[in-house]
């Protein structure tokens, strides 16, 4: 093929890709090519992730054997105290449900969680992402992803047994957040940095009382995440603009230590609302 023809092919390919990128509108969307890529690379990532995990597991098993008796005794004591606490909490829950019934307040559904393995995580580069192996039950788009410490992100693409997760620290991610101490709401966004500057809380007015050390949870107002999942802790508060505080958060989750996360089966919006928007609900 002569170079002139190759030049034309290059132009066609580049224009095609530009059109494709423009149609996406800059969002991480679901395309067949991306799903195919995920299906091709997912098994390889899983195989590679399994090797250090099994080595680490074997090493940990050796260590655990030594301290197993101590840990067992400690856990027995902890189970006893937790049982007592559970009894007390079930009393409180019963009371809360009765009071809720009295004022006709419907509590939001809690949702089931499912543990899935992390096969690939890149939290250091500027286009960070995470891939999980979901097994036989596929993930769903926008499904919240949590760890034991707090919010990890949401599923943006899935293909077969693999799903790609947009991390909460991604610049394009947005979460409805709420300061636990005073219930003040705002929008949590990826801050573009790492560690203490990984998250920002926007749209909190200057009049609001915000302190360093305040915990921020999901507010349950974004239609993706339920209320009450830890997102991060406030580490810096500045009077940013004329109206709002400039708040930096340290994420609740250590993304470098993720080897297993939880998919939350939670649907904030009813199917009718999803199809027709808020008007369809009425």
């Amino acid at each position: 093929m002569n170079e002139r023809r190759t030049g034309w092919v290059l132009i066609v390919v580049l224009v095609g890709q530009l059109v494709f990128l423009a149609i996406q509108g800059g969002r991480a969307g679901e395309t067949r090519a991306e799903k195919l890529g995920l299906r091709l690379l997912g098994p390889l990532a899983r195989a590679v992730a399994a090797i250090p995990r099994s080595v680490a597991d074997a090493r940990q098993d050796m260590k655990l054997r030594n301290s197993l008796m101590d840990e067992n005794r400690h856990l027995k004591r902890e189970v006893e105290s937790l049982r007592l606490r559970l009894l007390r909490l079930s009393d409180v829950q019963g009371e809360m449900l009765r009071l809720g019934d009295a004022v006709r307040y419907g509590t939001p559904p809690a949702g089931q969680i499912r543990a899935v393995d992390v096969v690939y995580v890149d939290y250091a580069s500027w286009l960070r992402s995470l891939v999980v192996y979901t097994g036989n039950v596929p993930a769903r788009k926008n499904q919240p992803v949590l760890s034991a410490d707090g919010l990890v992100g949401r599923v943006v693409t899935f293909s077969g047994a693999y799903a790609k997760v947009q991390l909460v620290t991604d610049r394009a991610a947005g979460v409805g957040g709420m300061i636990l101490r005073n219930r003040r709401q705002g929008v949590v966004r990826g801050g573009g940095g790492r560690g203490s500057s990984a998250l920002e809380l926007d749209y909190v007015p200057l009049q609001a009382d915000v302190r360093e050390g305040d915990q921020v949870l999901t507010a349950g107002i974004d239609g993706v995440y339920p209320r009450g999942i830890p997102v991060g802790t406030i580490v810096k508060v500045e009077g940013g603009g004329q109206l709002f505080h400039k708040i930096q958060l340290a994420p609740a989750v250590d993304f470098g230590a993720l080897d297993q996360v939880y998919l939350l089966d939670y649907d904030a919006l009813s199917p009718a609302m999803k199809e027709n928007g808020p008007r369809g609900h009425s």
Binding site: M1, E3, T6, V9, L10, V13, L14, Q17, L18, F20, L21, A22, Q24, G25, G26, R27, A28, G29, T31, A33, E34, G37, L38, L40, L41, L44, A45, V48, A49, I51, P52, Y120, V121, D122, Y123, A124, S125, W126, L127, R128, S129, V131, V156, K164, Q166, L167, D170, R171, A172, G190, G192, G256
Partner: protein, 171 residues
């Protein structure tokens, strides 16, 4: 046969990427193994093939990032084509030449990706210039190392082949 070799090279790049990420979380920020494969293939001088390899490797890389899908596909297509055209005009045989070409290609790829991100996203996160430089340098060194290893392997296998032929003639 060449297609199979290319598929194997891209699969190997993916494997190295995953192993690197499992050993060190900053691997993807510092080295782009997919780009090294694209540039080393582009140095062969076949622009059509370099373009296709750039497109495929870039799209695979897009699968592993959170940005708009096609960002690296676009960037690597350009890089693959330019490298092949450059190889048609210049004789690049010295390892330092390969280092320079791969380093330049990495900088070009990141520049294209940044420009596209700025055009497509409202308030994008951008890589720091320091890490752009680190990545370009690391890619250059990796590209040079692979080039030297491949040249040595080719030379030794050629010598073995000649030795076998000579022995056959003597016998």
């Amino acid at each position: 046969m060449d297609t199979l070799k290319l598929i194997a090279a891209i699969a190997l790049a993916a494997l190295v990427h995953f192993v690197g990420m499992s050993l060190w979380p900053g691997f993807a920020r510092s080295v782009d193994v997919f780009l090294v494969v694209v540039v080393l293939h582009g140095l062969g001088g076949n622009s059509m093939s370099a373009l296709v390899v750039g497109l495929v490797a870039g799209l695979l890389q897009d699968t592993l990032t959170s940005g708009p899908f096609g960002l690296f596909g676009f960037a690597d297509t350009i890089v693959g084509y330019i490298t092949a055209r450059l190889a048609q005009r210049l004789v690049i045989q010295r390892p330092t030449g390969v280092l320079a070409v791969v380093g330049f290609a990495s900088a070009l790829q990141q520049a294209v990706a940044v420009v596209l991100t700025l055009v497509l996203l409202p308030s994008p996160e951008l890589p720091s210039p320091l890490w752009v430089a680190v990545r370009a340098g690391a890619c250059g060194i990796l590209g040079m190392a692979i080039y030297v290893a491949m040249s040595n392997w080719r030379r030794s296998s050629e010598a073995r082949r000649r030795g076998r032929m000579n022995r056959l003639r003597m016998g």
